[in-house]
């Protein structure tokens, strides 16, 4: 049954990808990208990778669709006709694709217990993490504790993305925003429903943030969901209102704060006589130390991801708004 579902989902994924290549209307392409992300999330669920599916649904289908739509507001929705001949790119793609498919022949059989990936470090994580880290959600143990250094790197990458975007596109505020004008002023229904939904979205983000030790979730997903709540507010009530609620300056403080919080846990554990990010030294009991460490670094990840996602959205949306005004 699982194989059948996989086959259906994979063929739908291939069809979506083909459609994306041939469509010229970029608005439809963005929507199809959202569908593509949802389909991949479903495949991840079918593979029992719930945390990854969660991230894919929140980031791929949620935030990046909104960001691409706000980019389209700046660039226009039609793809330009290419004047170059497409034979050489086609050749390159064919050769690369053939090499990749040839590479899959050497791959071990799908789902076999004797595969190298199940023999290398996975048995240790599965056997030792309940004793060493003591979290019910093993994914969080691996992500935040065993692979804590990698996750610090990922958080820094997210932070670097924000620096890149803000260098190119600064958040512009109109000086005379005395009367915040909403783009959807007449949408009374949307206003009411958004006011009902937004507190629950933020509550859900906090749940995902602090329940990540016990179930699917964690800092990355929670940050994205919280940012989505503010983005919804900006879309329904207008960007100036959202800029008043959470100002870009505040976000520019929050984003490095999350990274620093994460890194300072590492430095602190060094002061306590351990290695960098050695949570065992954070408390008298190593397992308690692990719990404290994971909660603090997940909080750092969540703060950074929230600030970065929202800053990038502000940067794009304020450019689009300025263009509409002028």
């Amino acid at each position: 049954m699982a194989v059948l579902i996989d086959l259906v989902l994979l063929s739908m994924l291939a069809l979506t990808a083909l459609r994306i290549i041939f469509l010229k209307d970029l608005f439809a392409v963005v929507m199809l990208f959202g569908i593509y992300s949802f389909l991949s999330a479903l495949i991840f669920i079918n593979l029992d990778a719930v945390d990854v599916a969660f991230t894919e649904a929140a980031v791929g289908a949620g935030i990046s669709t909104v960001l691409m739509l706000s980019t389209l507001a700046l660039t226009g929705r039609k793809e330009k006709e290419s004047k170059h001949s497409s034979i050489l790119p086609f050749l390159v793609v064919t050769v690369t694709g053939a090499a990749l498919i040839y590479g899959t022949i050497d791959m071990p059989p799908f789902g076999d217990a004797n595969n190298p990936i199940h023999q290398h470090v996975a048995p240790r994580y599965i056997e030792q993490s309940p004793v060493e880290v003591g979290l019910p959600n093993m994914v969080t143990s691996v992500l935040a504790s065993y692979r804590g250094f990698d996750t610090l790197g990922e958080t820094v990458v997210v932070f670097a993305a924000m620096i890149g975007v803000l260098t190119l596109l600064s958040v512009r505020r109109k000086e005379d925003d005395e009367a915040p004008d909403s783009g959807l002023k007449s949408h009374r229904v949307l206003h009411v429903v958004a006011k009902i939904i937004i507190p629950f979205v933020i509550l859900f983000a906090l749940y995902v943030q602090f329940h990540g030790d016990y179930g699917p979730g964690g800092g990355f997903q929670a940050g994205v969901i919280a940012a989505a709540a503010i983005i919804l507010y900006a879309l329904v009530f207008g960007l100036p209102m959202a800029l008043r609620v959470i100002s870009p300056k505040f976000l520019q403080i929050l984003a490095p704060l999350g990274v620093l919080l994460y890194a300072s846990v590492g430095i602190y554990s060094m002061f306590m006589g351990g290695n960098f990010l050695d949570y065992n030294k954070l408390a008298h009991d190593p397992v308690h130390g692990q719990h404290y460490g994971i909660i603090i670094i997940e909080l750092g990840v969540g703060i950074t991801v929230f600030a970065v996602m929202l800053s990038i959205f502000y940067a794009f949306a304020s450019q689009a708004e300025r263009r509409n005004v002028s």
Binding site: S186, H187, V189, L190, V193, I196, I197, F200
Partner: protein, 107 residues
């Protein structure tokens, strides 16, 4: 339990039927507003029936509560989405079929 299984099976089947008619309508209906109507059938009645059918399959524990929350959330958001879609199409100047016919006759 046997009775509940039958009931949940019936609910799931009817839900799938409505989902299918929604998809069919999305492809076959003539203009935007009728298509939005077909799509909103999928996300309102079909999801209500399917989620209720799934609720009857649980052991009436935390999973049931989660399904109820999903149902509540869907019942608030998806009609709003359909409404916003139709309203912004109106706002953009899209006419329904009878209206555009009338416009043609008048001009």
């Amino acid at each position: 339990m046997f009775f509940l299984d039958i009931l949940s099976g019936v609910l799931l089947l009817v839900g799938v039927f409505f989902g299918f008619t929604g998809a069919l309508g999305l492809f076959r209906f003539p203009d935007f507003f009728t298509r939005v109507h077909a799509a909103s059938v999928t996300e309102s009645i079909a999801s209500i029936l399917i989620l209720t059918g799934l609720m009857l399959q649980t052991q009436f524990d935390l999973n049931t509560a989660k399904l109820i929350f999903i149902l509540l959330f869907l019942m608030i958001t998806s009609p709003t989405a359909s409404h916003a879609l139709a309203k912004s199409a109106r706002h953009g100047g899209l006419l329904s079929i009878p209206e555009s016919k009338k416009k043609k006759e008048n001009s």
